[in-house]
Amino acid sequence: MVSALPETWLVHLIRFADEDPEMTLVRLAKEEEGVGISAGAHFAGVKSAMLMQNHGFMASINGIVSFAHLYKIPLLMLISYRGTFGERDPWQTQGGNVTEPLLRALAIPYFFLDGVERVTKRIRQAQTLAESSLQPVAVLLTRDLMWEE
């Protein structure tokens, strides 16, 4: 099960999730809903992921703390990392500054994906850690991976 809210970099990933017969895509109104969707999926024994922008991660923080952390719910968060080096959109830049500090403050393990070579392996590793540790894990999808100028 994949919950998602679109953004420019994620359009293709969301389309893949929609077209994959092995996945159920849930299109959200706000990213925090995805924490509840993933918790429901976990209780049901179904693996899930959340596809969102870093601003969507910020919009989910109460759900992450007072549901996923409080109740030890695994979350695989695939986060497009906007607002860092190379960003042309001024409105993305504040979010870029605070994404990693917030992840560290929340003690959420995270790593970057910046090339296609190890995408499958890394995402599988993130899912494995989320499931074994029963906690949120973040994969930051960077400009180099997601966007061609």
Binding site: R27, A29, E33, V35, G36, S38, A39, A44, V46
Partner: protein, 190 residues
Amino acid sequence: MLRLDCLRSVYSELENCLVVTIMGAVAAELHSLGHRPSFFYLQHAMGLASSTGLGLALCLPEQEVIVFDGDGSLLMNLGSLSTMARYRPRNLVHVVFDNESLLSVGGFPTATSTGTDLEGIARAAGVPRAVTVRSVENFKLSVSEAVHGNELTTIIAKVEATGPSGYITDVSLLENRFQFRRHIQSLRKS
């Protein structure tokens, strides 16, 4: 109409349902009627009980799921109504106890006290069936119809702003969560 009487009237109906409640009075009162492993009390994360119920209902289409929400919680996540309506799982029943206040923090009046109509919002969001009930008899009937029916239903239950003296139960959060998941896994095996 008292929420506790409503819950008591459907307690036996809940036997074969997975139940997700919000925090505070709803959790404490349902628990006071007798805890079951099929009850999950979301003791924080206001707004996400309906999202959790939606995730469960979509993953377990053969299993009836019932969410006991509240006006304060739902107002924090109105978008959830549009997401539920978008996928409208036939096995999901969404009950909203509307006491027009945030009771557990001292009774701060919510917007339903000044005219916000949650039934109207649910219907306009696209929820196929939305009703408001004001008596225990109608509550029981509506829940029974929704559980046995085949349509996503939101039931707004107008209740008094009274509740238990305390909100702590003897089921710890993690115990509840692991028990609930294990219960669902045992249902899937059988």
